[in-house]
C-alpha cells in the first residue's frame, strides 16, 4: 500500500537522519571553527585550511572542524548566531566583525580572554589602537583582531595631470579636497570629480567610508566613550552633512541615481576607477583585491595610475588626517568545552607567520608590529605601507548592538541630503530624533 510505503520511507529517513546526526554533536575532541567565505573573500578559509594539519599535529587527539559559511554578511551572522543559540551547534572559535563585540558579549556568545592574553607573548606585538577593537564596554577583551582595514583617498594621476593638479597630491583640509574636485570639473569634463558614498543603497559604505570619515575629522564623534552617550546633533555632524550637500549639489559627485544604486560600490572599483571615469574616491584599503591578477576586475596598471592620500581633517586640525577601521575578530565561544585547545588554535592562527598569510590573502592591513617590515607584506601592493601607517590614527565605530540601526538611519539621512529631499539641518534633526528613539532619550546628548 502506498500509505504504508510512504510511512516506511518517512520513518527510514528520519531514522537515517537521526543516526547521521549522532556523530556530529561535539564529542569533546573536536574544535569547530566558523567563519565567513564569500565571493573571492576566501582569506579565512585559506588560513584555516593551512593550519588545520599543523593544529592537529600539535594537539594529538584533537580534530579541527572547519565550518565555512558561504553567504553575505547578514546571512552569515544570522546563521552564526543561530548556531550559537544551541550548545550542540555553537562553534568553539568564530570569526566576526569587530563591531559585534559588545552585543555578542551581552548575548553571552563570547568568552573573555583577559587571562589568556596575560600569558601570550605575541599580544605585545599588537598595535595598541587595534587591541581595543576586541574590547567590550565591560572592559574585558573578547576577541583578537585579525588585521584591519583603513580608509582614505584614492586619486587618478592621469586625470590629475589633465586638470593641472600635482601627481603627489596631499590635501590638508576639506576645502583642499573640494578645490581639487572643482578644478577637475572645470578642466576634465566627462569624469566624476569626487565620490563620497551616501545613501542606503551601498549600505554600511555610506556610513563608514562616507559620513563617519567626515564626522570623525571634525572633532565630533558619533558616540562619546566618556559620557557613554550617542552624540546628535553636533556641529561636526551638521558640517559633514553640509560637505555632502556641497559635493552633490554642485555637480562634484556622482549623480544620485549612481550613488543610490545598491551595486554602486561594485561599479566604482570594477568600472569607474579602472576606466578612468572617476578622479577622487574616498574609499577603503582593500580595493586592490579586485585589481590584482586573478581579481574580479584585473587591472595591471592600477598601481601606476592611482595615487593615495590620507583624508584630511576638516580644517587641518591635529592629527591632520582621519581614518576609520573595521576588520575581523577571532573569539572563543562562551560555551566551548575545550577552551584551552580552542585558545591554542587562536594563538596558532594569529602568530606572526599566519597573520602575514592572512593579511596578504585577505588584503588586510596589519595590526602586528613585527609583520609590517616583512617584504612579503608589501609585495604586489605598493600602497600597503600607506594604509598601514594610517592605523596609528585610526578609530573604530561604536560597537553597540544598536549601531546597525543607527547606521541605517545615518544612511537614510545622507540619502535625503544628496538627493536634495532634505536640508543638512533637517536631516541632522531627523537623525537625532531617530537616534533618541533607537537608543533611548537618556542615551543621547546634543553638542551644537
Amino acid at each position: 500500500m502506498r500509505r504504508k510505503s510512504a510511512f516506511a520511507v518517512t520513518t527510514v529517513m528520519v531514522a537515517a537522519a537521526l543516526s547521521a546526526c549522532g556523530g556530529s554533536s561535539s564529542d569533546g575532541k573536536t574544535i569547530k571553527v566558523a567563519y565567513q567565505k564569500f565571493g573571492n573573500f576566501i582569506g579565512a578559509d585559506e588560513l584555516f585550511k593551512k593550519i588545520k594539519p599543523v593544529f592537529e599535529q600539535q594537539n594529538p587527539g584533537y580534530k579541527l572542524k572547519l565550518i565555512p559559511i558561504e553567504a553575505d554578511e547578514n546571512s552569515y551572522y544570522t546563521k552564526l548566531n543561530l548556531m550559537r543559540r544551541s550548545p550542540n551547534t555553537a562553534p568553539d572559535v568564530a570569526y566576526e566583525d569587530t563591531f559585534f563585540v559588545n552585543s555578542d558579549a551581552q548575548a553571552r556568545f563570547l568568552m573573555p580572554l583577559d587571562d589568556n592574553l596575560k600569558s601570550w607573548p605575541d599580544w605585545s606585538q599588537f598595535v595598541d589602537n587595534a587591541k581595543v577593537a576586541g574590547q567590550a564596554a565591560d572592559g574585558h577583551t573578547y576577541g583578537i583582531p585579525m588585521g584591519t582595514d583603513t580608509r582614505g583617498l584614492w586619486y587618478n594621476k592621469q586625470i590629475f595631470a589633465k586638470a593641472g593638479l600635482p601627481a603627489n597630491w596631499q590635501p590638508k583640509t576639506w576645502n583642499d579636497v573640494l578645490a581639487a574636485a572643482r578644478q577637475i570639473k572645470a578642466k576634465v569634463p566627462g569624469v566624476i570629480p569626487l565620490n563620497v558614498y551616501a545613501g542606503k543603497g551601498v549600505g554600511e559604505a555610506a556610513s563608514m567610508q562616507g559620513f563617519e570619515m567626515l564626522l570623525y575629522g571634525t572633532g565630533d564623534k558619533l558616540y562619546d566613550d566618556q559620557t557613554k552617550k550617542w552624540v546628535a546633533p553636533s556641529k561636526g555632524m551638521g558640517d559633514s552633512f553640509n560637505f555632502l550637500k556641497t559635493v552633490y549639489s554642485s555637480g562634484l559627485g556622482p549623480t544620485p541615481q549612481q550613488t543610490l544604486d545598491p551595486h554602486w560600490s561594485d561599479n566604482v572599483a570594477g568600472q569607474e576607477l579602472p576606466k578612468g571615469k572617476l578622479a577622487i574616491d574616498l574609499d577603503g584599503s582593500w580595493l586592490p583585491q579586485a585589481w590584482i591578477p586573478g581579481g574580479a576586475s584585473a587591472w595591471p596598471q592600477w598601481s601606476s595610475t592611482l595615487g593615495t592620500a590620507p583624508m584630511p581633517t576638516q580644517n587641518g586640525q591635529a592629527p591632520g588626517k582621519v581614518t576609520m577601521s573595521g576588520g575581523w575578530l577571532l573569539s572563543l565561544g562562551a560555551r566551548t568545552k575545550n577552551a584551552s585547545a580552542a585558545w591554542k588554535l587562536v594563538q596558532l592562527a594569529m602568530n606572526k607567520e599566519n597573520s602575514l598569510f592572512f593579511y596578504v590573502k585577505a588584503t588586510q592591513v596589519s595590526v602586528r608590529k613585527d609583520v609590517v617590515d616583512d617584504p612579503k607584506y608589501v609585495e604586489g601592493n605598493p600602497t600597503q605601507k600607506f594604509w598601514t601607517d594610517l592605523v596609528s590614527v585610526t578609530q573604530y565605530r561604536p560597537a553597540y548592538s544598536v549601531y546597525p540601526q543607527i547606521s541605517n538611519q545615518l544612511q537614510a539621512a545622507t540619502e535625503a541630503v544628496v538627493t536634495g529631499q532634505g536640508s543638512p539641518q533637517s536631516a541632522m534633526n531627523d537623525l537625532a530624533g531617530q537616534i533618541k528613539q533607537i537608543a533611548g532619550p537618556d542615551k543621547v546628548e546634543g553638542k551644537s
Binding site: T10, A107, G199, K200
Partner: protein
C-alpha cells in the same frame, strides 16, 4: 490531457467500506502529509506568534534573556510611518503585479494562444515559462542588468530614438512590479489555458452566430465559465507575490530610500539586519494577515457572482 470536457466534479458515490473503517480509511492517507505539515509548518508558525510578543533577538541582551513585552512590537509597528509606507507599497505591488499584471496578462496570453498553431504556442509558451522556471536570484540579476543605465532596455529605447532613464532609480516599484509580472505570468497563463480548454466551442460558436461580439462572448460566456479558475489563480499568485523577497532585494534592495521596501524586505531588515526577531515575527504575522484579507476579498467577490 487526462480528461476532456467538463469533468464530473462531485463524487456522489463512494468506495465501499464498513462504517468504522470508513472514517479511518479516509483520514489515514492524510496523516503522513499533514503530520509533516503540522511538525514543520504549524509548529513554527505558532512559535512566530509567541515570539511576536517578546523582545527575542539574535544578539545582544535579547539573545541571552528574552522577555515577554506584550503588544509592544505591534504598537511600535503601527506607530512607525515606515511600516505604514511598507504596507502600502506591498498592497500596490501585489495589486499591480498579481491582480492586474499576472492575472490579466496571463488571461490575455491564454486567450491569444487558444486555438493557435502548436509551433507558436510551444515557442512563445516556452519562452514565457522559461522566465518562470529561472531561479529567482538569477532573474533578479538579469533584470537589474536589463534596466541599468547602460542596460539592454535603454539601448533598445535608444535604437528607436527614445530617451532611456534610470528606471531602478526613478520608478523602482514599477520596475520590480514589471519584473515580477514577467516572472509570474506563465503560471496564470497555464491556469487560464487549462480553464479555456474546458469552455465548449459550440457555446461560443452559437453565440457568434447570434451576433455576439468577441467582447460579449468573453464577458457573458467565457468569464463566467472560468470563474473558479480565476479565484484559484488570484489567490495563489497573490499569496506568492506577497512573499516575494529575493527579486526585490537583488534589484533595488528596497530602495532608493524605502521606495520599494515591501513588507518581506522590511521584515528581513528588522529580523536579520537589526537582529530583532520578535519584531520580525510580528511583521510576519501581519504579512499573513494581509494575505488572509486578500483571500477573503476574493472569496466574497466570487461568491456574489454566482
Amino acid at each position: 490531457m487526462v480528461a476532456v470536457g467538463l469533468p464530473e466534479r462531485a463524487a456522489t458515490r463512494r468506495p465501499p467500506a464498513r462504517r468504522g473503517r470508513r472514517a479511518a480509511g479516509r483520514v489515514l492517507p492524510l496523516v503522513p502529509a499533514f503530520g509533516l505539515l503540522a511538525l514543520f509548518f504549524v509548529g513554527p508558525i505558532l512559535w512566530c506568534v509567541y515570539a511576536s510578543f517578546t523582545d527575542i533577538a539574535l544578539t545582544g541582551a535579547g539573545a541571552s534573556s528574552p522577555h515577554l513585552v506584550g503588544l509592544r512590537n505591534y504598537r511600535q509597528m503601527f506607530s512607525d510611518p515606515a511600516f505604514a509606507k511598507s504596507l502600502w507599497l506591498t498592497i500596490v505591488f501585489v495589486f499591480g503585479s498579481a491582480v492586474v499584471g499576472q492575472n490579466v496578462g496571463g488571461l490575455a496570453l491564454a486567450l491569444l494562444m487558444n486555438g493557435r498553431r502548436r509551433i507558436v504556442r510551444s515557442v512563445v509558451g516556452g519562452i514565457v515559462v522559461g522566465a518562470w522556471v529561472l531561479p529567482e536570484l538569477v532573474a533578479g540579476f538579469m533584470w537589474y542588468a536589463f534596466l541599468s543605465d547602460h542596460g539592454t532596455f535603454n539601448a533598445l529605447l535608444h535604437a528607436v530614438g527614445l530617451h532611456g532613464k534610470s528606471w531602478l532609480y526613478t520608478s523602482p516599484l514599477l520596475a520590480v512590479t514589471i519584473t515580477n509580472v514577467w516572472r509570474g505570468t506563465a503560471f496564470s497563463m497555464l491556469v487560464y489555458s487549462a480553464a479555456l480548454s474546458n469552455v465548449p466551442d459550440e457555446l461560443l460558436q452559437a453565440a457568434a452566430v447570434d451576433g455576439a461580439s468577441a467582447w460579449q462572448r468573453l464577458r457573458h460566456i467565457t468569464l463566467p465559465l472560468i470563474r473558479r479558475a480565476m479565484l484559484t489563480n488570484l489567490m495563489t499568485i497573490t499569496l506568492q507575490t506577497l512573499a516575494v523577497f529575493t527579486l526585490i532585494f537583488v534589484m533595488t534592495g528596497g530602495g532608493p530610500g524605502t521606495k520599494s521596501q515591501t513588507l518581506p524586505i522590511f521584515m528581513y531588515q528588522e529580523a536579520f539586519k537589526f537582529y530583532h526577531l520578535g519584531y520580525g515575527a510580528a511583521l510576519a504575522i501581519v504579512l499573513l494577515g494581509v494575505g488572509a484579507l486578500f483571500s477573503l476579498v476574493y472569496l466574497r467577490a466570487m461568491r456574489k457572482e454566482v
